[in-house]
């Protein structure tokens, strides 16, 4: 690399570091680091933001050593299917190893974002003690900690700007944890406690937000009664994002007008969420701010269609809408007419395990949205029926989709009119949407859909498959195509050993592969592990019948399989139901 070396010597290090500061994307920085040793050295000293998509892909100490100046780290743990109880609770994803290494090597760490990890109170205490300049703590879908740990963060992080707790399982053992924020704490910008189960001392909260003039995001939990929301809003009229607490109370005209005026007083409000137990009574109190809203999350509110329509028709600037299927087709047609700037729609099931009918949310709603919202690029849609024709229309209307997740709730559901598989519909989606990065399939599907996906989905990074396919060919199409595939998760599909072994090299280009209730045997996993030393092949067998896994024959079926690339070798914290094959 003689040319590269001469380049590097042309300018002093500081100049190169300045140049690299314009490369925020990790992929670009990684590429720069490969050019020559000088650039590798310069880049690593100037990287201050690190993203670790799989906490087991690298040893914490190695990451900390390579990038000594990191100020912001984001780390992910468990596989995505852990969200749906498919991963054993003791599988792993513990944060201690990382927090200890970071405390050692990154004392100036300011931001830590963890997703799907097991975070203990000890971890939180370590964070609170060791990082003197700590500013941002974001925990998403984590577990293992309690409000006592939060008390430690509150008490010790003097410059805390963001405490963002999103959908974590938090034990409530310290009732007054919020009282641990000292009077000197005035720096909060984000406080999201929506996932906490326990009571919140609203008076303490009032005083806290009263002394934080920069507070922009406040998301309360369901224990905060509606009456107290008024007082909180009076103290934080500068809010941009509000998550209400319980949005129901005894009907009282005075409360309504106080609430209405308090909300109207928040002139910068762009996002609303919460709305637990919301009914029609107090919903009109937010009408005054609807026009300014860009984000609305009503997915915890069991409000019926007509009320939803009245509300959403006023939200002309909405970009993101999360709602329950109670909105029905009629409501979505109204959204399509009113919300022309809509970019992201998520429709959640109000009754996931219920009987087949009575919500009138069908393919028509999805088609209406696709026709009426030209900027739509991200969809999550739970429904009970679909047709190929509808999907073809959606594909034609929305060639700009980046994320399309359709969940037809009954497995193997065909096109309800033609009784055909939905291959044609999903194929149309991947062929039309050239920028599709994320796709979730459902309904009756044969190997044909995988042929289309493998051939056309060139930008696809994450694919979720359930109850689909005919045989090995389906998986082979995916693994031999999909150039940019990073994460593949499969459950209950008849995919076996052959496509895995034939495409072993592909697995090293991906972050991870999850397969459960498929037709993979232990023998294939052993072969794969032997062939690919840079992969961890984790076999998860929860039932533990008979012999231990080492003694099981090659034809023993594998319940759950998690394969991921790593430079750290086999991890040492596996529980008894997980075997890492070598």
């Amino acid at each position: 690399m003689v040319g590269g070396f001469r380049w590097a010597a042309m300018f002093p290090d500081e100049v190169w570091e300045h140049v690299f500061s314009f490369l925020p994307a990790d992929a670009d920085r990684n590429a720069a680091a490969l050019v020559c040793r000088a650039w590798y050295r310069l880049e690593r000293r100037s990287r201050w933001r690190v993203f670790v998509g799989n906490c087991y892909a690298v040893e914490p100490a190695a990451a900390v050593r390579r990038f000594p100046e990191v100020r912001a780290a984001a780390i992910k743990g468990k596989p995505h299917f852990a969200d749906f109880n498919l991963v054993p609770s003791d599988w792993g994803g513990g944060a201690e190893a990382w927090v200890e290494a970071m405390a050692e090597g990154w004392p100036h760490l300011e931001e830590l974002r963890l997703k799907r990890m097991v975070v203990s109170d000890d971890c939180l205490e370590l964070i609170a003690r060791c990082f003197k300049n700590f500013k941002v703590l974001s925990l998403v879908s984590c577990e293992g900690f309690s409000t006592a740990g939060l008390a430690a963060i509150a008490a010790n992080c003097r410059y805390l700007r963001e405490l963002d707790l999103h959908e974590n399982e938090v034990e409530d053992n310290c009732l007054h944890w919020m009282s641990h924020f000292p009077e000197s704490c005035t720096s909060l910008v984000t406080l999201n406690i929506a996932c906490l189960e326990g009571e919140v001392n609203v008076s303490v909260l009032e005083r806290l937000i009263g002394r934080c003039p920069n507070l922009k995001t406040l998301r309360l939990n369901h224990s905060v009664p509606l009456e107290r929301l008024v007082g909180l809003l009076h103290r934080a009229p500068q809010l941009v994002d509000l998550g209400t607490g319980k949005y129901a109370a005894q009907h009282h005209p005075e409360l309504f007008s106080r609430l209405e005026s308090a909300i109207a007083g928040c002139k910068n409000l762009k996002g609303l969420s919460g709305f637990w137990e919301a009914g029609p009574t107090f919903l009109p109190a937010i009408y005054s701010v609807c026009e300014g809203l860009t984000s609305l999350n009503l997915s915890y509110a069991t409000i019926q269609g007509p009320e939803l329509i009245k509300l959403i028709s006023r939200c002309k600037n909405l970009q993101r809408l999360w709602v329950m299927d109670l909105i029905e087709d009629e409501g979505l047609i109204a959204v399509a007419a009113s919300c022309k700037l809509l970019q992201e729609l998520r429709v959640f099931p109000s009754d996931p395990y219920g009987a087949a009918q009575p919500i009138s949310l069908t393919e028509h709603g999805l088609v209406a949205i696709s026709a009426g919202c030209p900027m739509l690029h991200s969809v999550l849609y739970f429904c009970r029926q679909m047709t190929n024709a509808a999907l073809l229309t959606v594909a034609k209307n929305c060639p700009n989709f980046t994320c399309f997740r359709l969940c037809i709730m009954e497995p193997h559901t065909p096109d309800y009119i033609t009784r055909q598989p939905l291959d044609a519909g999903f194929s149309a989606i991947v062929e039309s949407c050239k920028h599709l990065r994320r796709l979730s399939l459902s309904g009756l599907l044969t190997d044909l859909v995988f042929k289309s996906i493998g051939a056309s989905a060139n930008r696809l990074e994450m694919l979720s498959v359930a109850f689909a396919g005919d045989g090995d060919a389906g998986l082979h199409y995916i693994l031999s195509g999909c150039k940019n595939l990073r994460k593949l998760e499969i459950r209950d599909c008849p995919f076996g050993d052959k496509p895995l072994l034939d495409n072993a090299a592909k697995l090293e280009t991906m972050r991870s592969l999850w397969m459960s209730s498929c037709s993979v045997t232990l023998g294939a996993c052993r072969q794969l592990a032997r062939k690919m030393p840079l992969l961890n092949v984790e076999v998860i067998n929860e039932r533990k019948r008979g012999l231990p896994l080492e003694l099981q024959p090659d034809n023993c079926p594998v319940e759950k399989l998690y394969i991921y690339r790593t430079v750290a070798g086999p991890r040492s914290d596996t529980p008894s139901c997980v075997w890492i094959l070598r």
């Binding site: 299917f81 969200d83 749906f84 109880n85 498919l86 879908s141 959908e167 399982e169 996932c195 369901h222 009907h251 637990w276 009914g279 029609p280 009574t281 997915s299 915890y300 069991t302 409000i303 019926q304 329950m324 299927d325 109670l326 959640f348 099931p349 109000s350 009754d351 996931p352 395990y353 219920g354 009987a355 009918q357 009575p358 919500i359 739970f382 969940c407 709730m409 497995p411 979730s440 979720s464 359930a466 459950r491 209950d492």
Partner: protein, 207 residues
């Protein structure tokens, strides 16, 4: 979300949310008076049949997710049996458990015991595990031999000492003991019902 059958007239709008109120539903009319009640042949054993000693009737529970009747013939006293027709697949549909808990979905299941004149409802969430659940069930159904259920549910006729318990007939035709579902849930149901009725009535007056 399931619609509930209420005794209201057909001009009333739907009153339920997705909170499983149909499981705790008390009809507003007389039992059996609603238009869409199941036919006699579809009903599970009615009160009269239940009072007599039953032969081989399976005890079964009904999970919120399992609407179809369980017609299997095993008899497991005091146990809860999930309907085979609608067995739930683990982790499907892919809804985060956090989202499911937040909906406060109904975890009350009906429990039937051979020989008992009425069924009971038990909240699965209220018990930490199978042992606790079985202990609670034992207590609930032991009242037929040992008289010791809470006072407020028992009315004694001072004249002849006959004891009465309040029961109601639910939409499946089962006789249920009043009081198993917390009053707050029942009250919320009635409140939403009342508010909607009031709204409708008001509109009718104005028109």
């Amino acid at each position: 979300m399931s619609t509930t059958e209420t005794g209201c007239s057909s001009t009333e709008p739907e009153v339920t949310g997705g909170l499983g109120y149909d499981e705790t539903e008390l009809t507003l009319g007389l039992p059996g008076a609603g238009g869409s009640k199941p036919s006699e042949t579809d009903r599970k054993r009615g009160f009269a049949a239940a009072v007599g000693l039953n032969v081989g009737a399976a005890s079964r529970g009904e999970d919120c997710g399992a609407r179809s009747s369980d017609s299997s013939d095993g008899s497991v006293s005091g146990a809860i049996k999930r309907s085979a027709a609608k067995a739930q697949v683990v982790g499907w549909p892919p809804v985060r458990s956090f989202r499911r808990t937040a909906l406060r979905s109904c975890t009350y299941v009906k429990v039937a015991v051979d020989g008992a004149p009425y069924l009971r409802k038990v909240d699965l969430e209220a018990h930490g595990g199978y042992e606790q659940l079985l202990a609670a069930l034992e207590e609930m159904f032991s009242c037929f031999t040992v008289r010791d259920y809470p006072d407020e549910r028992r009315l004694v006729d001072p004249v002849n000492g006959t004891e009465y318990v309040p029961t109601y007939e639910d939409k499946d035709g089962d006789w249920m003991l009043v009081g198993d579902v917390p009053w707050k849930s029942v009250l919320s149901f009635f409140l939403s019902c009342f508010l909607t009725v009031a709204a409708v009535r008001f509109n009718m007056l104005r028109a």
